[in-house]
Amino acid sequence: MAMSVFRFARRTWASEDLEHIAPVPLPKMATPAVVLSSLVVIALLLFVSIGPLVWRQDPSQQWLSQISAGPSAPHSVRLIRDNGPWQPPVSEPVQSLVVHDANTEFVRLQWPQIEGVKRYRVYRASAHKAGLGLAIAETDKSYYQDQLQLSYQIYRYTIADADSGLLLLAREVRPEAAISLFEAQLQGLVPVGKSSRHAKWLEMPGHPLGTDALGRDILARLMAGGRTSLFVGVVAPLLYISFGCIFGAIAGLAGGWVDQVAMRFVDFVVALPFLLFMILFRVAFGIGPGENGIMPLIVAMLMLSWPGSARLIRGQVLALRGQAFVEAAKLAGVSTSRVILRHMLPNVLPMILVAFSFAIPQAIFTEAFLSFIGMGVSPPTTSWGALCNDGIKTLLSHPRQLLLPALFISVSVLAFNLLGDALRDATDRRAGVAKA
């Protein structure tokens, strides 16, 4: 290793080299988790607030012709003016099983007379099922109008000899969508009045998420229900967490007998049973079984859920009071209000955020549960919990009606949880607390 002597020449150091502070990049508040969960929360809020203005279907309007229907696009239906008894025109004898008209109000069939057959039996089955299906009529005439609960699917009609059981004719029929004049007037699609100029075709609105057991549009109901759920879920915790925090902070700051009395009161409130009080409030408010139960729900929540955050904040305030930087502030002559605002509050805020972020999903769940058992909102007001209650009845045949409101509850609970968690992490990392 060759070394020249000059490399050993002495060097003094410059003072700028020494006292430097390595820059620590300030952690961003907008981490992916924060961004994603706040987007979801904003989307939900827009969904329930702006949504009904865009999607203008009435959540309580029942479409009797589309009970428990699947997702459907807007489509045209024929307006049927008369659906009374029918006879085929005599002039035309037929050679096979002929369909004169097929729609969801009636299917009109005519077949040729066959020698030796006195009575005919008409069978109807879904086209994709094997077998004859249901025997819907026996007639000695050679025509029939089927008005038995027709839906929009392919049917297979079979004509058989009623006496011998011999199968004679069969045909597949797809009825087109139609609506009777009576129902159209009932739904308000056609003005009631004696006018002979009615349109032949009507536009029926689509239901992107389908309809429930009473024919109501699910999307509109989700929006309406969301309003209630989110209102209760956000406003109630906002109120009771704030109250609890203020109560706990005062107890922690005051200390002494004030603190003791306050905490015994907190113990007392914690011991009260929630459901019992809910029902008592309902009775006290004089609300009958069919009336809207939102107010007692919110009042009960407010009066019974605040102790949790009170205890939490009191503990944190007590811990902060003993911290050296609070003592240093006292020594510096800082006024009490400034100590609370500048020193205590910023160090307590993360905890409040966490409390809040856990209280919201809890409130949404509580409201859903209560509405589910009938102690919450009553129709026509709806909430996601009430929608779940409705959806339970058709769980086996149409699970979509339960899954959709449950999905919305889960997504909103998850989003609020993540948002609170992420916000707490971001504020903690700004203060240098390592993520546990």
């Binding site: 502070i21 050296a324 930087f325 020594l331 510096a332 002559g333 240098g432 607390v433």
Partner: protein, 327 residues
């Protein structure tokens, strides 16, 4: 100029615990003169930190008088008292991280004592920037948060914050115990510079004898809540009169490889820590004292003048003096 700015008369601080009344500070009489550095030495449990906090007003005393600047202070300070005292007494804490608000910038923490005095915004900011530089930190440190600085840098901020209010007395509660050796030296040098420059009185609480010897003009030694010896630092360290002070000095390890102090097997029985109760009578050191007599346990000793201008609280002071003469 050499008047006492802080006077303690029969100061006591008692805590109630399961065994009775614990006397953390028991009957302390002390004066702190303007411009002097008083070192307060003792081991854990001696009550030195409690005494410092009582003088600062952070700990209420149980009995006795605390007189600062001629005014007798009440037991519990109100906000107004703290505000008035903020230009008289300030404190540097041991844990530099806990003594700074983690959510406030350094510059804001520095300006806070000034804001509460009503100093205008720009003036306060300029002063804070000056002090930042005075303690050896770059201006960029002002915008940082405490967790971005090292322990030594944070302690400098603590010192700057104590001195920025221009107090008459700065209480340093073990300011260098948690720091590395090389950083300790920086902080100690800084404290010495600032103290001489501003002629601030300083109460330097520590358990490291060498640091106290270096900084303090006068030293007080505390044991279990009482002051057992008091006097000018050179005299006290060279000729300790109280047996406890002698033991402390003997146990201090100086890095002298030629004269080793620790002898194998030279330990007494370790019987555990006995907490000082207020009801104890007699000398607290008597159970461990090599010169203890039955009379020592009867009455509490008081500070008496010794032949080397210090004061020692020992019943057997006369005998100690004779032994010293013989050596």
């Amino acid at each position: 100029m050499s008047g006492a700015i802080v006077q303690l008369r029969e100061l006591r601080c008692h805590f109630a615990n399961s065994e009775g009344l614990l006397a953390a500070v028991d009957g302390v009489n002390l004066d702190i003169k303007a411009g002097e550095v008083l070192g307060l030495v003792g081991e854990s449990g001696s009550g030195k930190s409690t005494l410092g906090r009582i003088i600062a007003g952070l700990q209420p005393r149980s009995a006795g008088d605390l007189i600062i600047g001629g005014q007798t202070m009440p037991r519990h300070y109100s906000r107004r008292q703290f505000k008035a005292m903020s230009t008289q007494v300030q404190m540097v804490f041991q844990d530099s991280y806990a003594s700074l608000n983690p959510r406030m910038t350094i510059l804001a923490s520095l300006q806070e004592p000034l804001w509460s005095q009503g100093v205008a915004g720009t003036v306060a900011r300029d002063k804070a920037c000056y002090w930042l530089e005075r303690v050896g930190l770059p201006q960029s440190a002002g915008e940082r948060y405490p967790h971005e600085l090292s322990g030594g840098q944070r302690q400098r901020i603590g010192i700057a914050r104590a001195f920025i209010a221009e107090p008459k007395l700065v209480i340093c509660d073990e300011p260098v115990s948690a720091l590395d050796v090389s950083v300790q030296a920086q902080i100690i040098n800084l404290l010495q510079e600032l103290q001489t420059e501003h002629n601030t009185a300083m109460l330097f609480i520590a358990h490291d004898l060498a640091v106290v010897r270096f900084l303090a003009t006068r030293t007080a030694v505390m044991y279990l809540g009482e002051i057992v010896e008091l006097g000018p630092t050179p005299a006290l360290f060279e000729g300790p009169r109280h047996p406890y002070t002698a033991r402390l000095l003997a146990a201090h390890l100086d890095g002298n490889i030629k004269a080793r102090k620790v002898i194998a097997g030279n330990t007494g029985k370790a019987a555990g820590h006995k907490a000082p109760l207020a009801t104890d009578s007699g000398c607290r050191f008597a159970p461990r004292c090599p010169m203890a007599e039955p009379a020592c346990g009867a009455n509490p000793p008081w500070l008496r003048a010794t032949k080397v201008d210090t004061e020692a609280a020992c019943h057997r002071l006369a005998d100690v003096e004779i032994l010293k003469l013989r050596k």
